[in-house]
């Protein structure tokens, strides 16, 4: 599904919902909305999730749960990554880039207040950026933002950032930087952001609730309160949805459970685009995967469609590369090294493995990896390749595969958007080393326009796909299952975001 189709789909869904709501009419206590449906302006929206924050600070290893609950809802950045992958201005009212592309001057939006009541100033922006760049920062974006050389604050509404080299992704990366009150303390357990909600209460192991912030600078949230309820077990989460204990599930992880919602008019199953890719990652520096032909052969020997069908039923998408449809440089490359066992055998023959070979597949012990590993084993057996499945814990994966590169092939899910650029780093765990690709990735980052960047990354995309740098098995579906009373929730959940402020609940 392309971006256009997704937004079309979302629009029709919203329109249909609005129509239904209008038709049912008048039961909402809050009165009409701009879009015509009636909804309860003082509703509490109960959200069910499997991802509890580890702590509330995204520069201290808070995990994906903290992004889901707080990003955009409690904290805001200078820019915002929308649900369909576009970058928009948020706390930045405007910005200018110098001719050499090295100096960014941001003008801050006027009248923005933190939840503590303090007004937003350029000092806070400087502090927030420095927090991400600090020595003890665990921010996933730290490496990307290290091009920042200097941050100046000529006046309370102006921030001037100087980079050490050109970085076209700088503005995009800023969408991950939360603007925090520079005087705030204990950010692992409390907050002080500028978002439409302020933190009400975090009960670890159970729930996190947010209240509408009355001093919000922008349009007020469409509901009064949101409560994220945390579950460890997908079945318990689905039961909660079935018994109306929650109104929406941010990301459905149990495809078997979908039928009970799909065939029930009280619920809506939304099939969005995720950015999570399941990879069969070769160690491109270890034999026999040093040979392009071997990698292509393995990629061609696995029927991804059948795997996706068995794991996710009718959901999810095939991808021929690292790039999901919501990245700007997406291109359908599913035909490159597509399923073709005859071709696989021929390639193996050419590579000198006519009689096949055997390798160990390091497989994380949680779903869907063991299933995928067994499937891969049986597929590759058909072309004479023997797979030895070695089941490991996430800890072992981290040490053995990620840190020490002591593996031949592994399975792993990669969740981030725009992470194709890792193929430009020869020291990354999968060891793909192509000087041309590295150059393209670097040039793309130094491009003057996003069009130039996109063009170069499309080249990277095609080249890595042709080289079968890894085998991209499939793109996970992003299934948001919601009560039909609800509208306005995000569908794609890029980078685990879940903006709750537009959610409308029929009374």
């Amino acid at each position: 599904m392309s971006i256009k189709k997704t937004s079309l789909y979302a629009t029709t869904t919203a329109a249909a919902l609005a129509l239904t709501l209008t038709a049912c009419g008048g039961s909402g206590s809050g009165g009409g909305s701009a879009s015509g449906g009636s909804y309860d302006k003082n509703a509490t929206v109960d959200i069910g999730s499997l991802y509890e924050p580890q702590n509330l600070d995204n520069t201290a290893g808070g995990g994906q749960g903290v992004t889901e609950a707080l990003n955009g809802n409690v904290y805001e950045g200078l820019f915002k990554l929308t649900d369909d992958g576009k970058v928009e201005k948020l706390l930045a009212q405007d910005y200018k880039v110098s001719g050499d592309g090295l100096t960014y001057t941001f003008t801050l939006r006027d009248g923005v207040k933190f939840h503590s009541g303090k007004a937003l100033t350029s000092e806070d922006v400087k502090y927030s950026l420095e927090k991400v760049l600090a020595d003890d920062s665990q921010s996933a974006r730290k490496a990307n933002l290290q091009v920042v050389k200097d941050i100046a604050t000529p006046d309370p509404r102006t921030v001037k950032v100087t980079l050490s080299q050109k970085s076209i992704s700088f503005v995009y990366n800023l969408s991950y930087v939360w603007i925090i009150n520079s005087r705030a303390e204990n950010l692992k357990t409390t907050e002080d952001g500028t978002g439409p909600y302020k933190l009400d209460k975090w009960t670890r192991g159970s729930a996190l609730s947010l209240d509408r912030f009355t001093g919000y600078w922008g349009r007020a949230a469409s509901n009064k309160k949101v409560v994220f309820h945390y579950y460890k077990d997908a079945t318990a989460l689905n039961n909660a949805l079935l018994t109306n204990a929650v109104d929406v599930v941010t990301s459905e992880q149990s495809p078997d459970a979908l039928d009970q919602f799909k065939n029930n008019q009280n619920y809506k199953v939304n099939d969005g685009n995720s950015t999570t890719k399941l990879l069969l990652a070769f160690n491109d520096k270890a034999k026999p995967f040093t040979d392009v032909k071997v990698r292509q052969a393995v990629s061609s020997a696995i029927d991804d469609k059948k795997l996706l069908e068995s794991v996710w039923g009718g959901y999810g998408k095939l991808i021929g590369s690292m790039v999901p449809p919501t990245d700007p440089w997406y291109e359908d490359l599913t035909k490159v090294n597509a399923y073709d066992p005859a071709r696989a055998k021929k390639l193996l023959d050419e590579a000198g493995y006519a009689k096949g070979f055997s390798f160990t597949l390091d497989t994380p012990n949680y779903d869907p990896h063991p299933t995928a590993a067994t499937f891969i084993k049986s597929e590759l057996a058909k072309v004479g390749i023997t797979v030895k499945i070695n089941t490991i814990t996430p800890d072992e994966w981290y040490t053995k595969v990620y840190k020490n590169h002591a593996f031949t092939a592994t399975l792993q899910e990669h969740v981030n958007d725009r992470d194709l650029v890792w193929y430009g780093n020869p020291d990354f765990y999968w060891g793909y080393d192509n000087k041309q690709v590295t150059r393209w990735v670097n040039q793309a980052e130094e491009a003057s326009t996003t069009a130039g960047q996109t063009e170069l990354l499309k080249k990277v995309n095609r080249k890595t796909a042709e080289d079968a740098a890894s085998d991209w098995l499939y793109l996970y579906p992003q299934l948001v299952v919601a009560n039909s009373k609800l509208s306005g929730y995000p569908l794609n959940g890029l980078n685990s975001q879940f903006f709750a402020y537009d959610i409308k609940k029929k009374g």
Binding site: Q54, N55, A60, G61, Q138, T189, L237
Partner: protein
């Protein structure tokens, strides 16, 4: 009695001290690094080192241990590596779920199992005696998560009488609502627990029924009911009480499956999360409190047995094992 109590107290303290050492050392022998939970994939060695430093896991073990003991002495269970929240209050809030759950399930199981076990023994030759016996045998074989799922399907999903899981975020501030969310978990635990209790009560009753003193009492003109009430029950309860103590302790620790099926924020799920994240202060805190609880339960069972059975009072220590 005073001397006995002092001895028990000393035993309790020594056990706690030993348990804390074992617990601390064993945890550190687990493979894996707590810093992994705090760093994301893509973290640099500097970021990992910073994470270790921030939680103090880069310090030598003896230093970490004395630090923990110092905190314990001050009544502080430490701070979670992962969430930065203090462990003590979190344990307390989890106990607000686990303790009512365990005690209510325990009480329900006793209320069901004692008469049922007695009947199963006394009326073992009737059809309902045999049925009780059979049902309890079956009950022991039923996995607790399966029973939980069946109860949810019937009473929550189909009938809609009770919530399928979860616990109010505000805890017991609305007691009726909090209790409603505990009904199914309580029944689940009670059913499984009473199945095994019935077996114990039945065999203890059978022992008594075949005893010389009961026959003597009957021969002296006492009715069966009277003889049972004055002599039989008291004797039958001594072995049952030690089993009750064990059952109570194991439910307190073993509620993790039920807590997961019903998505309850209890002590068991806190422990499971702590282990998954190598969150040592959390694991230590939960296990320390549980150890204390188990020791206290053992102590209470022992005391009750002594009160019931005067013969045990002559012994200086020992008791419920």
């Amino acid at each position: 009695m005073a001397r006995y109590l002092l001895r028990r107290l000393a035993f309790l303290l020594v056990s706690l001290a030993l348990a804390s050492v074992v617990l601390f050392v064993l945890l550190r022998m687990l493979p894996g690094d707590p810093a992994n939970a705090l760093t994301s994939v893509g973290a640099s060695p500097e970021q990992i080192a910073a994470a270790r430093h921030s939680i103090g896991s880069d310090k030598p073990l003896p230093e970490q241990f004395t630090h923990w003991l110092g905190q314990l002495a001050g009544g502080d269970l430490g701070t979670s590596f992962v969430s930065s929240l203090p462990v003590g209050p979190e344990v307390a809030s989890r106990l607000n779920v686990t303790v009512p759950l365990t005690l209510a399930a325990f009480a329900l199981a006793v209320v069901v199992a004692v008469p049922a076990g007695f009947l199963a023994a006394h009326k073992r030759h009737t059809w309902y005696g045999a049925l009780l016996n059979g049902v309890s045998q079956l009950g022991i074989a039923v996995p607790v998560f399966w029973l939980g799922m069946i109860l949810i399907a019937v009473f929550a999903l189909n009938a809609g009488w009770l919530p399928a899981g979860g616990f109010p975020q505000d805890g017991w501030s609305e007691p009726a609502e909090a209790f409603r969310s505990l009904v199914l978990p309580i029944v689940t635990i009670a059913l499984v627990m009473s199945a095994s209790l019935i077996r114990y009560v039945r065999s203890a009753t059978l022992d008594v029924l075949g005893s010389d003193y009961l026959r003597t009492a009957r021969a002296l003109g006492s009715s069966f009911g009277k003889a049972m009430w004055h002599h039989g029950l008291r004797n039958a309860s001594v072995p049952v009480i030690s089993v009750l103590g064990i059952e109570l302790a194991s439910t307190l620790l073993g509620a993790v499956v039920v807590e997961s099926v019903y998505a309850l924020p209890g002590l068991g799920s806190m422990l499971a999360t702590g282990i998954a994240q190598h969150d040592y202060p959390v694991i230590q805190g939960v296990l320390f409190v549980s150890t204390l609880a188990v020791l206290l339960i053992g102590f209470a069972a022992d005391l009750v047995q002594r009160i019931i059975d005067p013969r045990l009072r002559g012994r200086l220590s020992g008791g419920a094992r």
